[in-house]
């Protein structure tokens, strides 16, 4: 099974990571939707044979480098969410958009929860409760992200 146009996957995840760099006022940073994780989750759902745990690891490490956080802080949560998606992608693909969004919210909470746990373990300040609002923003961004990326996947025939 040969790969086709895989660069679209990495380009879209990279673009999503650049979204993190857009300036926001200090107190609004918590509301920024985690588009990089959404893009990752989309590609795991769409092409589970291409994008998996190793990609999640790379996305997490890149996020840590962008944030200036200790290396390895974001990866475990993202990897666990990816693992759950890999085991359940056939089911989640059948969900309607609301159910999918809620599933994504649960995955976001899970991965953020693991990150908080690690932060407490190594004495890095943990996120304020306002960060939950950011996850709800992420959930609201699931449908647009999915629609745009699906368009790209079909247009460039990524498989």
């Amino acid at each position: 099974m040969r790969a086709h146009a895989v660069w679209v996957i990495y380009a879209s995840i990279l673009a999503a990571l650049l979204f993190t760099l857009l300036p926001l006022p200090l107190d609004w940073r918590g509301f920024r939707p985690d588009v990089a994780a959404l893009a990752l989750f989309y590609w795991v759902l769409a092409l589970p044979h291409r994008v998996g745990v190793a990609t999640a690891f790379t996305v997490g490490v890149t996020q840590d480098l962008i944030e200036g956080a200790p290396l390895g802080l974001s990866s475990p949560g993202l990897m666990l969410a990816t693992l759950l998606l890999l085991y359940n992608y056939q089911r989640i693909r059948q969900f309607d958009l609301l159910q999918q969004s809620l599933a994504i919210l649960v995955l976001m909470l899970l991965s953020a929860g693991i990150e908080q746990w690690l932060r407490n373990g190594i004495d890095v300040p943990s996120a304020p409760w306002a960060a939950v609002a950011g996850m709800i923003c992420s959930m609201l961004f699931w449908v647009p992200t999915r629609t745009v990326l699906r368009h790209f996947r079909r247009y460039y025939e990524v498989y």
Partner: protein, 298 residues
């Protein structure tokens, strides 16, 4: 190790042309476990390992460069607005700045005489230390996207003489310290980050304390001060110089609130940073402090 990053179809297990209906779950779990252990070992064991910190340092310039590109359109828009300001507004600002300059010059006159007086005393005491600190002017180019942290990117790095641990000054006082330095950029941790604490002194009474970051950009907290301590709202907190990282005498914050609950042994003191941390982009890095010359680096 290559099996971690190779695609499942390359293992020969699903080498057919037909898309597999079920993924090879053992392989996925194995990857997950190996990579999770890798993350945990970096976090808990090798966090201070030279190679790990080298990766973090090396990323600073790349992140700063990329974020400058992302921010460029916003900056251009700001500059466009700036260039369209009216003549009158500009004239008012020039007048205001001239006024401010006159006041500052007046104060500097006094400072000059005080400095020379101080130098004479130092000479009398046979101490050959310089009076002035060496400063590097820098700009805050971006803020870390992590909402839990107060980490900023500065546009000066090792090439300009910036080193880890150096204090960073705002317009009106201390705002943070350098934590990660790359060739041309560096990251600074602000004093309000909840992982930051610094030794301070009440300017009025000389009382020493530790000012901790609260996680709010406009608030520092002092705990563990006896309820009977002489400290009140309006007191200026300056760096005490203890600990050997921040030179003595830079303004840090002004006490806003002293809360003493009845029956409690300790007061909870809140203070507002002297320099507004979320405003203004121009900062100064104290490259070399006369106070610590000859002392071992902290």
């Amino acid at each position: 190790m290559s099996w971690i990053f190779s695609q499942p179809n390359k293992t020969g297990d699903w080498g057919s042309v037909i898309k597999p209906l079920f993924l090879k779950q053992n392989l996925i779990s194995a990857r997950f476990i190996v990579l999770t252990l890798l993350c945990l070992s970096i976090l808990f064991i090798f966090r201070e390992h030279p190679r790990v910190t080298a990766v973090q340092r090396g990323a600073v310039d790349v992140v700063a460069f990329t974020s400058n590109i992302v921010v460029a359109p916003f900056d251009a828009w700001d500059r466009l607005l700036e260039s369209m300001r009216s003549r009158n507004a500009l004239r008012d600002e020039v007048l205001r700045l001239q006024q401010e300059n006159r006041v500052l010059k007046g104060q500097a006159q006094r400072l000059a005489s005080l400095l020379s007086e101080n130098a004479r005393y130092k000479a009398l005491l046979n101490s050959a230390r310089d009076i002035e600190d060496e400063l590097i002017a820098a700009q805050i180019s971006s803020v870390s996207p992590d909402p839990a942290r107060h980490l900023v990117m500065l546009d000066k790095g090792a090439a300009d003489g910036v080193e880890e641990g150096q204090p960073v000054l705002g317009v009106e006082g201390l705002i943070g310290q350098i934590v990660l330095v790359d060739e041309n950029n560096s990251r600074a941790l602000l004093i309000t980050d909840s992982a930051h604490a610094l030794p301070v002194q009440v300017n009025r009474s000389g009382l020493r304390a530790i000012a901790e970051g609260s996680g709010d950009i406009d608030r520092l907290v002092i705990r563990h001060l006896a309820a009977t301590t002489d400290i009140k709202a309006g007191d200026l907190l300056v760096t005490s110089g203890l600990g050997g990282r921040f030179p003595h005498g830079y303004p840090v914050a002004r006490v806003t609130d002293v809360e003493i609950a009845a029956g409690d042994a300790f007061a909870v003191v809140s203070a507002a940073p002297a320099s507004a941390l979320d405003r203004g982009r121009h900062v100064l890095v104290v490259a070399q402090s006369s106070q610590f010359e000859g002392a071992a680096a902290p």
